[in-house]
Symmetry: C2
Subunit: 280 residues, 2 copies
Amino acid sequence: MTAALERISSQRAFGGWHQRWRHESTATRCAMTFGLYLPPQVEDGARVPVVYWLSGLTCTDENFATKAGAQRVAAELGLALVLPDTSPRGEGVPDAERYDLGQGASFYVNATQAPWATHFRMYDYVVDELPTLVEANFPVSDARAIAGHSMGGHGALMVALRNPERYRSASALAPVVNPMQVPWGREAFAQYLGADEAAWQRYDSCALLRAATVPVPMLVDQGGADAFLDTQLQPDALRQAATERDWPLTLRMQPDYDHSYYFVASFIEDHLRFHARHLP
Amino acid sequence: MTAALERISSQRAFGGWHQRWRHESTATRCAMTFGLYLPPQVEDGARVPVVYWLSGLTCTDENFATKAGAQRVAAELGLALVLPDTSPRGEGVPDAERYDLGQGASFYVNATQAPWATHFRMYDYVVDELPTLVEANFPVSDARAIAGHSMGGHGALMVALRNPERYRSASALAPVVNPMQVPWGREAFAQYLGADEAAWQRYDSCALLRAATVPVPMLVDQGGADAFLDTQLQPDALRQAATERDWPLTLRMQPDYDHSYYFVASFIEDHLRFHARHLP
């Protein structure tokens, strides 16, 4: 166990343990907290595959942990869940007055612009530092999947598209699929990455999918009554890019569902079963 | 639809609808909010049985709604869920500085003492007013079960013991079974009911069970790592009373589980299946 890894809590859930951990991050240069669910199978000495979950705007590691009901399914399937925070946090970390920029709103990029560039390196944190830490310290394997909601759905698809050798599958609920073309993404990318839109393409799932060479199986669910559907989410853009490339994407519209955790909870079981089919 | 019943929200969840409603209560003389889950079966015109859920100290109708994952099971079993608040609330309703008295801490009694007696009539609200309202306005039947957590577990067992003709079954997670004998109950009952402990017995499940004549099937789960186990909960007192009376109680200790919603979420499926076996 790394000395710098501090356990905040450990609670029995569905026969396994839901834990919260804190550590000093090299990538984000601040203390980071993450959630970890270890399913009952680890008590038999098994190293289990991991589903990384990226949350949406304003969330911490706790929203998905307490509201999605995912531990129940992870316990059945023998999956660990790793739940990073949505940004660096704390005193000394820059923030904004608005909910869609700064703390709680990293968009999972490596920022290059002041004042963000020092701490907002969540891409490196999620792709490299956190898996390395988790795989060195807990009974998990290096078989990984990645999933997320809204801003975190963007993060999950984007990270998988850029690292197909690191993730067996990716999924998203109500993801921002085309951040370069919608207000949330354009305003955050301008702040974090600067005015040159060429630098934005590496974080745009539609752009990445058009250029991808190694397929990653993807499942996306989108609620039909989601208030952000037309302005921020626009899943048809991803569908069109996937059709052009004959990409292994299943995109399902779910009538009447909104953007909330009731939607996430209703379909998380399908997502975890999808990942389990691609994990050893 | 009663004109005074105001819908706050309605969200798709697990093929049904999770809603919040507000109404002026006759019993508590203030506006009350409750949660309602209607399972998919009502869309076929069915009137479905109802499980009433009473929450614990500090909760509103939303804690169980967002954290327990109960809608998934209710959708499968064709059960409605009705989630009352834990007390009257708002300006003009008395409160206390402490978390275990006043707003959020009714203990589901009809208070007789000042300043509580005017509004704190949650027993009447839960047993009479709310079921009458729900059965008149929603596609539910008069087949009822009642369940709860902690202070709400006390409420569920107590209400069922006093009204065996109104509830087919009762269940509780980490209930206060013997409030007359533990600090939470003694302090609240002294405030709400006065110093004469004879008046407390009608709200004490162990006392009620010893005097009960009509059996109600009961399921109780208790976490072995619950920080309140020895001081406030003491399920062995209920077990002993049940053994004396040959009462249909199943009481299960669950090693390592604490008092949190991770515990509730881990076992709510068992509780709803237990109730479904007793509901038409």
